[in-house]
């Protein structure tokens, strides 16, 4: 069943889009990542123009995050206070990102920037998570050498502007969460991702938040940042394709519900190591694409009506 997308101006198979949304939604529910880091490259691959893929990807992440966060709110695993602080940074970052995105688009370097950012961030975060979760799995098998991480003194405890986050059981400075939020906002705008794949590890390792509340809280922040990004892209680039978004969302919300249930059954370490492998896999694919000689060296971008 072919469907014509009004903004992307291409005709694609509706079931394919629905399936893509479903897979991404499943992962989104399991890991608390918006799934944007999968959907944007997949959309490139099926021939959606990069600007439309990024903007519509952001819109899809809004829906899957709303669906996911509701399940987390019911289980009381959302630290709202931390969410708002992260969000404040996120909105600033997103505005900054849109501005950079438009400059790079004009220079013809947006595809490269998007790909490079993917490779760098996914590679870095993937390795970090993989190493850490492997270590904690090994540690849990040797109960004799159990180390409690409760009262570790991280950088976040030394900075000023401290705030109490009761749900996470933390008393830390607000500066690191705001910076984390900002970075995620920039990524949301440039890469069309929610930024969960970078925020989740940052919350665990940098802020020291308990894994249980991390996913719900990151979803909460992602909703607002991607919502803002969607509107900004719609206004400045007119590149949000509602028809495309609707199909991805329909698949995505269904997938997310199943994902949340699977996620609740898995142990935190298992969850993290799976996410790490997934992130590294996508990273390797994109890196290969940059390193190998492309089949077609030339590309066409339409500037407008002549």
């Amino acid at each position: 069943m072919q469907i014509y997308l009004p903004i992307a101006e291409v005709s694609v198979n509706a079931l394919l889009l629905f399936g893509l949304g479903g897979i991404v939604g499943l992962l989104s529910g399991m890991f608390g990542v918006g799934g944007g880091f999968l959907i944007t490259p997949l959309l490139f691959f099926i021939g959606i123009p990069p600007t439309v893929a990024v903007a519509t990807g952001a819109n899809q992440v809004v829906a899957s995050s709303v669906s996911g966060v509701l399940a987390h709110i019911r289980r009381r695993t959302v630290d709202f206070r931390m969410g708002w602080v992260l969000l404040a940074g996120g909105l600033i970052g997103s505005g900054l990102g849109i501005w950079v995105f438009n400059i790079l688009s004009e220079m013809g370097q947006i595809d490269l920037t998007v790909q490079l950012s993917y490779v760098l961030f996914l590679g870095f975060v993937g390795l970090l998570m993989f190493q850490e979760s492997l270590r904690s799995i090994l540690r849990s098998r040797q109960p004799a050498r159990k180390i409690t991480r409760r009262h570790q003194h991280l950088l976040v405890h030394r900075l000023p502007l401290k705030m109490k986050f009761r749900t996470s059981g933390l008393y830390i400075s607000v500066i690191p969460p705001i910076l984390v939020g900002m970075l995620v906002g920039v990524l949301a705008a440039i890469m069309g991702v929610g930024g969960g794949f970078i925020m989740v590890p940052a919350m665990i390792y940098l802020l020291g938040m308990p894994t249980k509340v991390v996913i719900g809280t990151s979803l909460f922040q992602i909703i607002f940042v991607t919502a803002f990004t969607t509107v900004m892209h719609a206004v400045t680039n007119q590149s949000v394709d509602m028809m495309l978004a609707l199909l991805l969302i329909l698949g995505g919300v269904v997938g997310a519900q199943f994902g949340t249930q699977i996620g609740a059954k898995l142990k935190a370490e298992q969850l993290r190591i799976l996410l790490a492998l997934l992130v590294l896999g996508v990273c390797a694919l994109l890196a290969l694409d940059l390193l190998l000689r492309p089949g077609e060296l030339y590309s066409i971008s339409v500037e407008g009506r002549a």
């Binding site: 069943m1 009004p6 101006e9 490269l112 590309s299 009506r305």
Partner: protein
Amino acid sequence: MIRLLALLILFAAPLRAEEVVAGLSQTRIAITASFSGSDILVFGAVKRDTPAPEGPLQVIITLQGPPLAVTVRRKDKVAGIWVNTDAVGVSSSPSFYAIAATAPLREVLTETEDLRHAVSIPRAIRAVGSGLEDAGVFTDALIRIRTEEGSYTLDETGVELAEETLFRTRFEMPANLTEGAYRTRILLTRGGTVVDSHETMIDVRKVGLERWLFALSREQPLIYGLLSLVLAVVAGWSASALFRYIRS
């Protein structure tokens, strides 16, 4: 007076000895949500007041999408990775261009006539001076990419001509059409020279929901953006509610 008129007719006649009368299977194409391409049949006849002149008559039919300004970029290996480096601006290239003829273009049209009427694919593209030595490579790449994706086609035996009078051809238009006026041209040639031509337009437009969404995204981008959000939130929330209902 009558003599003068007769003289005029005598002089005028060889200029318009053969004339095209043509029709299209449809003059407008509606892009709906389920649009998956369209077929256009172009047909017609050659009208003559005098017997046909010597030499074979040839017919060229072209269908041309709205002209677009594009930039062609080339990737090069920089520090180990493939990066867009050089770029050439093409001020006008049709989004879609199909040519059908009764014989190979080189036989039915001279170089000068091609230049004058901009018939062949390279002639239909206008590049801007770029300062690059190999700018021609970029327009070649543009044609190659567009040909591979099916946007540019050349069918040198695509026009059927019967009795040097009736002709017809069929164009397949792909699903990824750009909106706008599509120009259809019919050229009659003899010995490589164009003897008559005829032009009509096909209107390609989005209709219904497609039209509404596209127009809204351009005219009211803020409302469009907010609407996309509402859609996303409602879909996310209702899915969550539905699943809770199913489980309970």
